[in-house]
């Protein structure tokens, strides 16, 4: 048989067997003999052990589950067309009791939306609208950014870009696979220059600052920072959204400026979201402590709190924030909780680099759920449609929310 390779087949059979043992292990049903088989089989090769260890990350399992549930949604239609084209027959009905409900397959990804349940009734009472045909594949965003140096030079950083450069004062910069890092060096005032790392819509990037602090920059955002922190303060300027893990340097506080708002920290983890189109600036504290200053006001946040700064109103502190929701973007997910469709679509637009237009009038419903940021736009749309969130039509890079 062409393309048939016995060795490949045997090796693939080995991994099929390992997969089934690992699944059994996770489900708590592995006999001692099987446990030993699994241990011995994987012990021979470090790579195999590493691949198995990856399956201990729920985030990886969730991503594969989402990929599979999308594929499951077109099993029946593809099987039908297979028979129509090749056997002139029809698919044999599924065996009762082993059906994988298509509804469930899609709902698994968006269970929380179902749980909130507001829209469920709406789905059945709403008018039947023909689903927009989505043909062009718009991929999700990825690791892409532009680095602008002090002298105005711009460097395009994409997923595959890797390199090394030396700036004034001997500052070393290294970038590779979505991450960029600066060396720490003691340099003179006159040698400090400012760099800006910027992402467009559909981009995301990770940065290690000269003091060792880590910053995850979300789409359509920018961060301006010096190539060395030499003054009394470590100060950076943000637009858009970023997640910070600030290295502790007691005598040199870290501050993030967002327009007229300032977030002052010692050593801590927090998220700042300040997209102009959102109309407010949110600072969420994950760990440590920060002080948010805006206008004449200054407020200290404790863990799990979020400050809301909006023009024309006093600073508001929200407690008991679902921190997972705020930082989901950093772990590869959209995670929505009780938000309106417009807010949801703005976040989607920033990641897929699309524009969203609303033809739908009724926007009172609230949604919740978690979706992988690795899906193509068309896959995301079919999930949203499958869960009754709405109907959509894609025209080029414009997504229309139909009435």
């Amino acid at each position: 048989m062409p393309g048939f390779d016995e060795t490949d087949d045997q090796q693939a059979a080995f991994f099929v067997r390992m997969s089934q043992l690992i699944a059994k292990e996770k489900l708590g049903e592995l006999s001692d003999a099987q446990r030993e088989e699994l241990r011995q089989s994987l012990a021979g090769d470090e790579r195999y052990a590493a691949w198995k260890a990856e399956l201990d990350q729920p985030a990886l399992i969730a991503v594969v589950m989402d990929e599979l549930s999308i594929a499951e949604a077109h099993v029946e239609s593809s099987l039908e067309s297979f028979h129509r084209l090749h056997t002139a027959g029809r698919p044999v009905r599924r065996v009762p009791g082993r059906q994988i409900s298509r509804w469930w397959a899609a709902a698994a990804v968006l269970v929380p939306i179902v749980a909130i349940g507001i829209w469920v009734a709406e789905r059945h009472s709403g008018p039947a609208v023909t689903t927009g045909q989505v043909t062009s594949a718009i991929p999700p965003g990825g690791s892409r950014a532009t680095l602008t140096l002090g002298n105005g030079t711009r460097i395009l950083l994409d997923t595959s870009a890797s390199g090394h450069l030396v700036q004034k004062g001997g500052i070393q910069v290294q970038y590779d696979q979505g991450k960029i890092g600066y060396s720490t060096a003691k340099i003179a005032d006159s040698e400090v220059t400012y760099n800006t790392l910027a992402t467009a819509k559909g981009g995301q990037y990770q940065l290690t600052l000269p003091d060792g602090s880590k910053v995850w920059l979300n789409a359509a955002s920018s961060l301006r920072y010096p190539t060395a922190f030499i003054g009394k303060e470590r100060h950076v300027e943000l637009t858009g959204e970023a997640y910070f893990e600030v290295a502790q340097h007691k005598d040199q506080p870290f501050t993030v400026g967002v327009g007229t708002m300032n977030v002052k920290v010692l050593g801590t983890e927090f998220d700042v979201m300040a997209y102009p189109e959102e109309g407010h600036k949110l600072t969420t504290l994950i760990q440590g402590s920060v002080k948010v200053q805006s206008g004449g006001e200054a407020k200290q946040l404790s863990v799990g709190q979020q400050s809301v700064v909006a023009a024309g109103s006093p600073m508001n502190i929200v407690t008991d924030i679902d921190v997972e929701n705020v930082v989901a973007w950093k772990t590869g997910f959209f995670r929505f909780k009780d938000i309106d469709l417009q807010t949801m679509m703005r976040e989607i637009a920033r990641w897929y680099d699309i524009d969203v237009q609303f033809e739908r009038q009724d926007l009172t419903l609230k949604f919740g759920g978690r979706i992988s940021r690795k899906l193509n736009l068309s896959e995301l749309i079919s999930l949203l449609e499958g869960n009754g969130v709405g109907h959509f039509k894609l025209e080029g890079r414009k997504l229309i929310v139909l009435p």
Binding site: K26, Y48, W104
Partner: protein, 185 residues
């Protein structure tokens, strides 16, 4: 089950198709980096299985055979695609690296493990199923309680029930003795 397909039994073929389509599709989209191409790749894999059914006696493990076949076809797709790209756009052709053997086996291990997990979960009673699905996705008991609008103790109860059902082997027998599911009367 190989015998079933060899003898032209479409019920067996359909069962294999339904069981394996999602994983093969995911593997093909990862290796070919194109979900659009993946549909065609998987269709070819099953067509080859159906048309070559009389010479299946050399195949020992049907799943392994399908995974390898999907890998080969994904690589063929990338090769013909880069050839076409090279002809059309001689100046700005980007060489797209072919997936390595490691890429293939690592994806196989991940995808097949999660498939087996989902299969187990899908056989649980509905309330149990929702809870276990969220557990596998890394949600805590309290998160799940909040998401499903039930109490934390109800979540723990469903978890315990799932563990018992899975332990009782009733479900695992169906799930892991693959040939039994696929040899449908």
């Amino acid at each position: 089950m190989i015998k079933g397909i060899q003898s032209g039994n479409t019920a067996t073929f359909d069962a294999v198709y339904r069981q394996m389509y999602p994983t093969l599709f995911v593997l093909a989209s990862r290796l070919s980096r194109s979900p659009e191409a993946a549909k065609d790749i998987v269709a070819e894999v099953f067509l080859k299985l159906w048309e070559g059914r009389s010479s299946l006696e050399r195949v020992q493990d049907l799943k392994a055979y399908l995974y390898v076949s999907t890998r080969n076809r994904s690589i063929n797709y990338l090769r013909s695609n880069s050839l076409r790209a090279a002809q059309e756009l001689t100046e700005r052709t980007m060489s797209v690296g072919e997936p390595s053997a490691d890429d293939f086996f690592q994806s196989l291990l991940h995808v097949e493990t999660v498939r087996a997990l989902r299969e187990a979960v899908n056989n649980l009673p509905p309330e149990c199923k929702k809870v276990v699905d969220l557990v596998l996705r890394g949600y805590s008991t309290n998160d799940i309680a909040g998401l499903l609008g039930i109490s934390a103790s109800a979540v723990s109860h469903q978890k315990a029930r799932a563990i018992k059902l899975l332990k009782d082997n009733v479900l695992l027998l169906i799930i892991f003795s693959t040939p039994a599911i696929l040899s449908i009367p």
